[in-house]
Symmetry: C2
Subunit: 636 residues, 2 copies
């Protein structure tokens, strides 16, 4: 088994091949920060590999220059051989973090400044000499000798003042909404005694298919738990447009609102249960979602998003409160949103951009692809930003595919198809019998089946495919299906299947994304050659295979080092906004800067889309490395 | 009948003796502003008497110098002889109004600036080129070419945006909360089409005994209707302390809150009915009340107001909303309060001070007396202000007196007792048979009965009183009662009575007020001689008789021209705050400036109180003019 040697304070540990480096370091008894729990979304577990190499999946937290120097995130690295790594201590880390770049990194790039802060106050007791009211004495304690400022508060908070002060012997914890845009200071909560160690926040990504959240300790600036569930609205339409079509009456809008609230509240309740946190101690929720999801969550009529000229009620919702929104939070909790750009480029995209350096580059042009149920693409640099949206469908999120599932335990995330037998060899998240296939597994499967010639460029099964690999007797309306895992090896005791409809669905999805990128670049007279970096966000599994994504024509055929896989950048961006003032300022600036390009009105986009409906593309010249493989040449 | 000649544009009219000058002017077909409906609370109906004289009751809207020049309020003047009056036109009026003095006058001293403003917007329609959200387009329409500012709004308002814009063909009326203390602009309402002519406000005085309100047209800056009702809480205690004692459980606090809400909502509903205004069109309520009433209305536990060291939860409640407070207003209506000074000097007093020049005088010392259920006294000038409170009781508001009633139609407001027969001659508000006696009637009655020797200085009936004037057979526990109006002449067919308990109650009330004034002045080494002006506010009838108030020892024995009767100055102050930004600023400054003096802890106050429990006082030297009358000398 490989040995991991850790500096400073030489420690070493022997681990199995494939062990996450983070686990190895923890096994060695060393302290390492990873506030996201090893999900690759906090950027804290940076280590430098000084000897040997690891299998690393880039997360967008490290500069190319840092990568060259061997820096990796321990959570996203697998140990495959003997290595030596160097951990940074707190002081070193600050020096290494790219100064002034808000686009990158997690909590380490500036200090924590949540929008909601809790303070312990020793309030003066009233006396004949100090005849100030309860509220005035709190204002004076806050001012601490300076000129007191007037606090605003709601009536329920006001009603609790007298009892809280007296129950706490005038030692109280007050929660204040930080004034960021000239608004007066607001008291949102008062509790007797010292509860300042208990202030929590939620970063929430409301996706069309999946809702995900981090529960964050705002005092320690640490992710306590992470969870996700399928959006219950999916039963009322898999994509945005069908969701809007469903929401045609106020009653149905209320129903859809209820469904997403149930989804989110179920995630929140579970996170709180795991972390032993009361939902009432959640003081702030930072939400990122596409514009339609935002409208449906807030009970806003989404109709005009669908109708020309595609007008949302709101792109940047104002500051709202827990009791208004209906989430399981403190009644007065602040609810903030990542601002959207327009009807089809929402706050999930601006939040995602926070996780990239795209909008900070001097001249280099980068591409940002968020492949969720809708595919959104941003192209630009520090000078200009352009965005568009392509209706992709939820295939890469494990929906709309026969045996699809989220990248949870039991999901097939890697597939290799044996060229001789045609049988699939799968690797399953968490090991054991597979339950279904997640996004990265589906991409692998498609790429492998095509590579070994079991499907053709149009996505049809080859005539050679048959026998025990193909199931044909599958009821009316269903066509032939490739057996990925036979019933006897699956967790459910049922065949895990992949059929031609699944393939067509995946082809449409990847064509929408690739076609949109291609169209955007052509619209400004550029091609993929001008793109220096591609940020890939989305609901794929944890480990996206770039080569196979290129093989199927989802991603452009660029050098592998151009790609940065961000994971759920919408959630990571919502987290940044939850804890960092600079991120809250930056995301508003980003939303203002992006110019939206409408695809619906463009026949040129339809041409690009149609051309991309093949594996990898009708124009093989766009995929030189794939073309070389097809010719039997070794890939470079 | 006397003739009233009116300049400019010579008009004349002949009216009966006793006609209000305001009615005479209206009868002459002339336009005159009196937005309070002739209640003496708006200060608008100023006219100059250039020939002859009127019977005038000062309202505190005119300077002594103006009074000398013959200026009067037409509503508070009665025609008794031929006169010539000069009306000011709009341009003249502005010149006459005392510049820069916020303490005085109604709507004429600065232009209307309500806290809530309505604007008609022509919002740009969305298009492929203008892809801004509904909220953004509203922000841009508001900015009118300048840099748009971010509007905040609540979720319900946000939900109405899309439909309002489209129903109104993008012509909408938006209601905005004016940002006065650095807070961001807030959209509180949006309606399709032009509704800018409909924006209403309420000025509310929440008294311990009586609740009164003006319904104000905020667009035309005009009082539409005025109304009052007894506070339904009175059944749970007549004064503040008994009300607080009752409110000892959260359930009872809720009950008291409900009672005052029912009272106020009944007044509001009636005002709206009279004026054909929907309660939903009320955008702002400006409330003045004593600290206990404020706590009970807001559902705040009043207990610590009663317990040493007498600490309210809040003196200056933050900006609240209609839905929080529970009044019949628009859900998002702004609810603001006149700030109080402390537990026993509340917002009703600071609002009342707005109606005086007391706090603006260079050196002259003035006294402000608010004789409601609690008696509050303020003394000071432009340099210093001191206040105290005396538990007076509701006798002068028509409560706690056997046949007492509010100064409504049917109330006896004037009494003359014939020295020979001992019979009372009464004048009744609105004429007809009397129903009861209001505050000014009670003062008259007490003074007259004492003057003719039917009661002694301790308030006991004289032995000479008897026969048909006295009723003795009045059940157990009740003592002898003077028959003010016999059953056959009263509206109810029952005797209108005045008994020794009533007298004791009145003596305690007037002793509390006079004793407090005396104590305050002595505490700073002054006597009544230092006082140049006395402002009298309170729930008396419309026409308080100063001489009789002095006779009973309620008011100090100062020259009559020193007194200014303000009427319900708390309501008038709330009205000023509703419509004028300067008044809102000023009232906060006043609350900050007043120093509170606690009477409860002072034995010296008890001495002053006890000495004042006689008619007019144990120390007759303090009442030289009364003393001269007693000796049979003609009063000067």
């Amino acid at each position: 088994m490989p040995i991991v040697a850790i500096e400073p304070r030489a420690t070493s540990v022997e681990v199995e091949v494939g062990t996450a480096l983070l686990d190895a370091i923890v096994a060695a008894g060393r302290e390492i920060e990873a506030s996201c729990g090893g999900e690759g979304t906090c950027g804290q577990c940076r280590v430098q590999v000084s000897n040997g190499a690891v299998e690393y999946v880039p997360r967008g937290y490290l500069d190319p220059s840092e990568l060259e120097q061997g820096w990796v995130l321990a959570c996203s690295s697998r140990v495959v051989e003997d290595i030596a790594v160097r951990m940074e201590d707190e002081s070193e880390r600050r020096a290494v973090a790219p100064a002034g770049d808000l686009g990158r990194g997690g909590a380490h790039s500036d200090s924590s400044e949540p929008l909601s802060v809790k303070r312990l106050l020793q309030v003066e007791e009233p006396s004949q000499e100090n005849s100030f009211s309860d509220l005035e004495r709190i204002e004076r304690a806050l001012a601490d000798g300076a000129e007191p400022i007037s606090l605003s508060c709601d009536l329920d908070t006001l009603r609790g003042l007298a009892a809280a002060l007296r129950r706490g012997a005038h030692r109280v914890s007050v929660t204040l909404a930080r004034a960021e845009s000239g608004s007066a200071a607001e008291l949102t909560r008062i509790e007797p005694g010292d509860t300042t160690s208990r202030s929590f926040g939620l970063a929430i990504d409301v996706g069309t298919t999946t809702c995900a959240a981090h529960l964050v300790d705002l005092v320690e600036n640490r992710i306590l738990a992470t969870g996700a569930e399928y959006n219950q609205q999916s039963t009322r339409g898999l994509d945005i447009i069908s969701r809007i079509n469903y929401a045609k009456t106020p009653k149905r809008q209320a129903e859809l609102r209820q469904l997403v609230l149930e989804t989110l509240n179920s995630v929140i309740d579970e996170l709180c249960r795991q972390s032993r946190v009361a939902t009432d101690d959640i003081d702030h929720a930072s939400i990122a979602g596409n514009t339609t999801m935002t409208h449906l969550l807030l009970g806003l009529d989404p109709e005009h998003i669908r109708l020309e000229p595609y007008t949302p009620t709101v792109n940047a919702p104002p500051l709202l409160r827990g009791y208004e929104v209906g989430l399981h939070l403190h009644r007065n909790a602040l609810v903030t949103y990542a601002p959207g750009v327009g009807s089809y480029v929402g706050g999930d995209i601006t939040a995602g951009l926070l996780q990239t350096a795209l909008a900070s580059e001097r001249e280099e042009i980068s591409l940002f692809l968020d492949v969720g149920t809708n595919g959104e693409i941003v192209v630009g640099n520090g000078e200009w930003l352009m965005a568009c949206a392509a209706s992709a469908g939820p295939a890469f999120e494990g929906r709309g595919v026969r045996c699809g599932m989220r990248a949870d335990a039991g999901a097939i995330e890697r597939v290799h198809v044996d060229p001789n037998s045609g049988r699939a060899e799968v690797s399953v998240i968490g090991g054991g019998g597979p339950k279904g296939i997640c996004g990265s597994g589906v991409i692998d499967l498609l790429a492998e089946l095509w590579s070994v010639g079991l499907i053709d460029s149009a996505g049809r099964f080859a005539d050679s495919l048959g026998g025990e690999l193909l199931r044909k007797d599958d009821g009316p309306g269903r066509n032939a299906a490739y057996i990925v895992v036979p019933a006897k090896a699956s967790a459910s005791g049922q065949d895990i299947l992949f059929d031609e409809r699944d393939i067509q669905s995946l082809l449409r999805t990847k064509a929408a994304v690739y076609g949109a990128c291609s169209f955007m670049l052509k619209s400004i007279g550029l091609g993929f050659g001008a793109v220096k970096r591609v940020y890939v966000a989305g609901g794929f599994g944890r480990f996206l295979d770039l080569e196979k994504s290129i093989t199927i024509g989802l991603l452009p055929d660029l050098p592998l080092e151009s790609f940065v896989y961000l994971g759920n950048s919408s959630l990571a961006g919502a987290h940044a906004m939850l804890t960092r003032r600079a991120a809250r300022m930056r995301v508003r600036e980003l939303a203002d800067r992006v110019t939206y390009l409408e695809l619906n009105v463009s026949p040129a986009y339809m041409d690009e889309y149609t051309a991309a409906l093949f594996l990898p593309h009708t124009d093989l010249e766009q995929f030189p490395s794939v073309k070389r493989t097809m010719k039997g040449t070794a890939r470079e």
